[in-house]
C-alpha cells in the first residue's frame, strides 16, 4: 500500500499548480473574478484564459483518448481539476468533464465534431438545463416540451438554476418528448440548444452566493441533428454522470483552500500570529486538519478505484456527502478564528480577498448541488450498505 501520489503524479500536480498559478491566475483575472457578475466565469479575461487553456491542451488532457482527448487516467484527471480549483480557477468541470464526453459519445455526427472542438479549444461552455420549478431531485417530473415538426423540434418551457447560461454557447437540455404520464423516465430526450436560437432568453437570479439563471424556451426551432441520443432515451444520459465529476465538486484542494490559506495567513501576519497561541484556535485548526486528511484520502481512494476500472459510485457519493458538509463546517471553524475579518467583503482590513465571507455565502449550495446529499445517502445505503430499497 502507498497512500501518496507516485513521483509521476506528484510531478504532474506541480506542473498543473505552476501553470494555474502563473498562466491562469494572473492579477487581472483575479480582479475580474472578484466582480460578482463574473465570479465564476464569463468575463472577457475568462474567455481569453479558457482559449489559452484549450490551446495549451489542458481541457483535452482531461478527456478520454477514444473521444479525442489525451487520455489521462482518472487519477490525473482528478489532480488536474483539483489543482485548478485549489488555485481558484473556475475550471469548466460541468461543461468539459461531465457533459462533454457524453456529448462526444452520443451527439449526431453533423454537430459533434464542431461542438467537441469548441469545448476542447475553450471556445464553448455548455450550461445544464435540467431543473425546473417543479422538478429538482425528482427530475423525471420535468415539463419542458419538445415536439417534432418535420425535421425540426419545437421547444417550449422553462428551466431554473441554469448556472453559467448567461455566458454559455449551448444549453444541454432535458425535455419531455412523450407526454404520457406513465412514461416519466422514458419520455425524456436530450437536446443541445444554441443560446443564440430565436426564442431563447435568460434572466439572472441573484443568490446568496453566485449568480445563476432562469432560462426560457419559447417556440425554439432546432433541427433534429441537435438531438443527442435516442428519442425518449435521455434519462440514461442524465444519469450517466461521471463519478469523477461528482468527486471534483468536493475535491480536496477545493475544500482545503480556506484552511490552507487561513493557516498561512496566521503564520505570516504579525498581528494575527498571537492567535496561534490560543487553545481554541489550535483546536479549530486540528479539527479542520483531521477532517481534511480524511477527505484527501477519500478522494484519492475513489480516483484510484476508478483508475482500476471500478465505478467508484459509492465512494463518489459518500465523498460528495462528506466533502460538502465539511466545506460548510470548515467555513465556520475558520471564520471563528478570523473573527470580524471573516465578515468583511471589501474595504481596508480585508484578508484573503474576502475568502471567508464568500465561503459562507457560496458554500450552502454544495450540500444540494450536484445531487442532493439525501439522494447520495440513499445511493450509499443500497449500494454501499446493501440495505433494501
Amino acid at each position: 500500500m502507498n497512500v501518496d501520489f507516485n513521483d509521476q503524479q506528484r510531478a504532474f500536480a506541480s506542473r498543473v499548480r505552476e501553470y494555474m498559478t502563473n498562466e491562469m491566475m494572473t492579477s487581472d483575472f483575479v480582479a475580474e473574478l472578484q466582480q460578482e457578475e463574473f465570479s465564476h466565469g464569463g468575463g472577457p479575461i475568462y474567455w481569453e484564459k479558457m482559449r489559452k487553456l484549450g490551446t495549451d491542451g489542458w481541457i483535452r488532457h482531461s478527456w478520454p483518448a477514444d473521444l479525442g482527448g489525451a487520455g489521462a487516467d482518472p487519477v490525473e484527471q482528478y489532480i488536474l481539476v483539483d489543482e485548478a480549483k485549489r488555485a481558484g480557477f473556475p475550471w469548466p468541470a460541468l461543461s468539459a468533464n461531465s457533459i462533454g464526453p457524453v456529448l462526444a459519445r452520443y451527439a449526431q455526427p453533423e454537430i459533434r465534431d464542431r461542438v467537441v472542438n469548441e469545448i476542447l479549444n475553450g471556445e464553448a461552455y455548455l450550461a445544464i438545463g435540467y431543473s425546473e420549478p417543479s422538478a429538482g431531485s425528482d427530475l423525471a417530473n420535468l415539463k419542458t416540451r419538445a415536439e417534432r415538426d418535420g425535421d425540426d423540434w419545437i421547444i417550449n418551457g422553462q428551466k431554473i438554476w441554469t448556472s453559467c447560461a448567461n455566458f454559455s454557447q449551448y444549453i444541454w437540455l432535458a425535455a419531455r418528448t412523450d407526454p404520457d404520464p406513465s412514461k416519466r423516465h422514458k419520455g425524456i430526450t436530450i437536446f443541445l440548444v444554441p443560446t443564440d436560437a430565436p426564442g431563447f432568453s435568460c434572466t439572472g437570479i441573484r443568490t446568496l452566493g453566485v449568480r445563476t439563471n432562469a432560462t426560457y424556451y419559447q417556440d425554439i426551432r432546432i433541427p433534429d441533428t441537435y438531438r443527442v441520443g435516442e428519442v425518449n432515451g435521455g434519462w440514461k444520459l442524465v444519469t450517466n454522470q461521471l463519478n469523477v465529476e461528482r468527486l471534483s465538486l468536493v475535491s480536496y484542494g477545493h475544500v482545503s483552500k480556506l484552511y490552507d490559506e487561513t493557516l498561512h495567513l496566521l503564520r505570516g501576519d504579525p498581528e494575527l500570529r498571537p492567535l496561534l497561541d490560543e487553545a481554541w484556535v489550535k483546536r479549530n485548526l486540528a479539527i479542520a486538519h483531521s477532517k481534511l486528511e480524511a477527505l484527501k484520502l477519500l478522494c484519492m481512494k475513489a480516483a484510484w478505484k476508478m483508475e482500476r476500472g471500478e465505478s467508484g459510485m459509492v465512494e463518489a457519493s459518500a465523498t460528495k456527502v462528506y466533502g460538502s458538509e465539511l466545506y460548510i463546517e470548515l467555513g465556520r471553524l475558520m471564520a471563528e478564528i478570523l473573527g470580524n475579518a471573516s465578515l468583511l467583503s471589501e474595504g481596508p482590513g480585508l484578508h484573503l480577498r474576502g475568502l471567508a465571507e464568500k465561503w459562507y455565502r457560496k458554500g450552502t449550495v454544495h450540500t444540494f448541488g450536484g445531487g442532493a446529499n439525501e439522494i447520495q445517502r440513499t445511493i450509499v445505503a443500497t449500494a454501499g450498505l446493501g440495505l433494501p430499497r
Binding site: 500500500m1 502507498n2 497512500v3 501518496d4 501520489f5 507516485n6 503524479q9 487519477v75 493557516l263 498561512h264 496566521l266 503564520r267 496561534l276 497561541d277 487553545a279 484556535v281 489550535k282 483546536r283 479549530n284 485548526l285 486540528a286 479539527i287 486538519h289 483531521s290 477532517k291 486528511e293 480524511a294 484520502l297 477519500l298 484519492m300 481512494k301 484510484w304 478505484k305 465512494e315 459518500a318 456527502v321 462528506y322 439525501e374 445517502r377 440513499t378 450509499v380 445505503a381 454501499g384 450498505l385 446493501g386 440495505l387 433494501p388 430499497r389
Partner: protein
C-alpha cells in the same frame, strides 16, 4: 498511490480471520467473560501460526513484515472482539523494543513471537518533547537499577511476565524493563468495562534493566505511542465494520409498520453517516500504518506522529458515534447480552479512552500545526 494489499498481506488477513472466527464464537467468549476476558489458547494458536511475529524481524523470531501488515491482525481482532492483549504486547512493547536494535533483547522478542512470554507496556503521556510527570522513580546503586512507585491500569499485566515503562532517575528520564514476578512487585487486578483485567502495579525497589536514557528513551516512548494509536485505529476499523454489518442485517430484517426498518430514511441515512465515518477512519488508519511502515532512513517522526494523532481523533469520534448509532437502531436487541453487539460497544469505549480521547489529541495536533514548520 496504491490502496491494495499484496498477496502475503491478503494471506495474513485470511489466516487471522479464520483462526479468530474459530475461537471467538459467542459461546466461547461467554465462558471467559468473568475470567478477565483473556483466552490463552487463542494466544498460543496465534503464536503457533506465526501471527504474533508478523512485524518482528527474523532474528527475533518473526516474519519481518511491516506495521501495515500487522494492522491487518489488529483489524481482524477488532472484527471478532478477540479476547487477547495484542495492542499492549505487540504495538506497545514488542515493536518499540525491537526498534532499539539491542541484541540483548532478542531472547525476549523471540519468546513473545513463540507465545512463551508476555511483555506489556505502561504508557506515559508525552507533552510535546517531554514527559508529563513520570510516576516511577529509578535508582542506580551497586551496578544495578531498581524502580519504585505505583502505576495504574497497566494493560495485560495480570498475564504478563515483564513490563516496560518510563521513570525519573534524578535529572534523567529513562526507559526501564522490569519483571512482574520479581521481589518488590505487587500486581493487583483491576477490572475494566470489557471485563478485561488491567492492574495496579506497586514497585518497591524492584529490580529493573535500563533500556534507554533521555532523548533515546523519549523517542522510544514516542514510537510506542504512535504504534499504539495506529493499532487502536486498526482495531477500531474492524470493530466499526462489524458493528455496521450487524446493524445492516438487523435493520434489513426487523419489520415494523409492515416493512424492514432500513427502508425508513431516518434509519438508513443514520447508518450511511456511520458508514462514512468508518470509511474516513479506515482511510486515515491506512495512512498512519503506511507512514509507520516507511524504512528507517525515510521515517519522519513528525509526520508519523501527526498521522497517528489524526487516526486516533477519528478512532475516538467514529467509535463513539458508530457504537451509539448501531446500538440505537437495534433497540433492545442491541443491549441484550445474548446478542454480540454489546462486546463491540464495550471495546469501542475502551479504545476511545485508552491513551487519550479526541480532545487530548486535538490539543497535541493543534500545538504541532500552530508551531511546527509547515510540511
Amino acid at each position: 498511490m496504491d490502496f491494495s494489499y499484496d498477496e502475503t498481506q491478503e494471506q495474513i488477513r485470511d489466516l487471522a480471520n479464520r483462526i479468530l472466527a474459530d475461537y471467538c464464537t459467542q459461546d466461547q467468549l461467554r465462558k471467559i467473560d468473568d475470567k478477565g476476558y483473556y483466552d490463552n489458547t487463542l494466544w498460543q494458536q496465534l503464536a503457533a501460526s506465526g501471527l504474533l511475529g508478523i512485524a518482528l524481524n527474523e532474528v527475533n523470531g518473526g516474519m519481518g513484515l511491516d506495521m501495515e501488515s500487522l494492522c491487518l491482525l489488529f483489524e481482524a481482532a477488532g472484527k471478532h472482539a478477540a479476547p487477547i492483549p495484542l495492542i499492549p504486547v505487540l504495538a506497545g512493547a514488542a515493536l518499540p523494543l525491537q526498534s532499539l536494535d539491542d541484541p540483548s533483547l532478542t531472547d525476549h522478542l523471540n519468546k513473545i513471537a513463540e507465545g512463551s512470554q508476555i511483555i506489556t507496556h505502561a504508557p506515559a503521556v508525552l507533552k510535546g518533547s517531554t514527559l508529563d510527570a513520570p510516576k516511577l522513580k529509578a535508582d542506580y546503586a551497586d551496578g544495578s537499577w531498581t524502580v519504585s512507585g505505583r502505576i495504574d491500569n497497566v494493560p495485560a499485566a495480570k498475564n504478563a511476565n515483564f513490563c516496560w515503562a518510563m521513570a525519573q532517575a534524578g535529572e534523567d528520564l529513562i526507559a526501564l524493563l522490569f519483571s512482574l514476578e520479581a521481589d518488590g512487585v505487587t500486581v493487583e487486578s483491576q477490572v475494566i468495562t470489557t471485563g478485561e483485567y488491567t492492574a495496579r502495579i506497586s514497585l518497591d525497589r524492584a529490580p529493573a534493566r535500563l533500556l534507554a536514557r533521555n532523548e533515546k528513551a523519549l523517542s522510544l516512548q514516542r514510537i510506542a505511542t504512535c504504534l499504539t494509536l495506529t493499532a487502536q485505529a486498526a482495531m477500531a476499523t474492524g470493530l466499526c465494520d462489524e458493528m455496521l454489518s450487524l446493524a445492516s442485517s438487523y435493520t434489513s430484517e426487523r419489520q415494523q409498520f409492515g416493512q424492514p426498518i432500513a427502508r425508513f430514511q431516518a434509519v438508513s441515512h443514520r447508518l450511511v453517516d456511520a458508514w462514512i465515518d468508518s470509511a474516513c477512519l479506515r482511510a486515515v488508519t491506512e495512512q498512519a500504518a503506511c507512514r509507520l511502515s516507511a524504512g528507517k532512513d525515510t521515517l519522519d517522526m513528525d509526520i508519523v506522529e501527526q498521522s497517528a494523532q489524526v487516526a486516533k481523533i477519528w478512532t475516538a469520534d467514529a467509535l463513539h458515534r458508530i457504537s451509539h448509532t448501531t446500538q440505537h437502531v437495534h433497540g433492545g436487541t442491541g443491549v441484550d447480552r445474548d446478542y454480540p453487539l454489546f462486546r463491540y460497544a464495550l471495546r469501542a469505549r475502551q479504545l476511545e479512552i485508552e491513551l487519550g480521547g479526541a480532545s487530548r489529541h486535538l490539543q497535541a495536533l493543534g500545538d504541532a500545526l500552530a508551531h511546527r514548520n509547515p510540511q
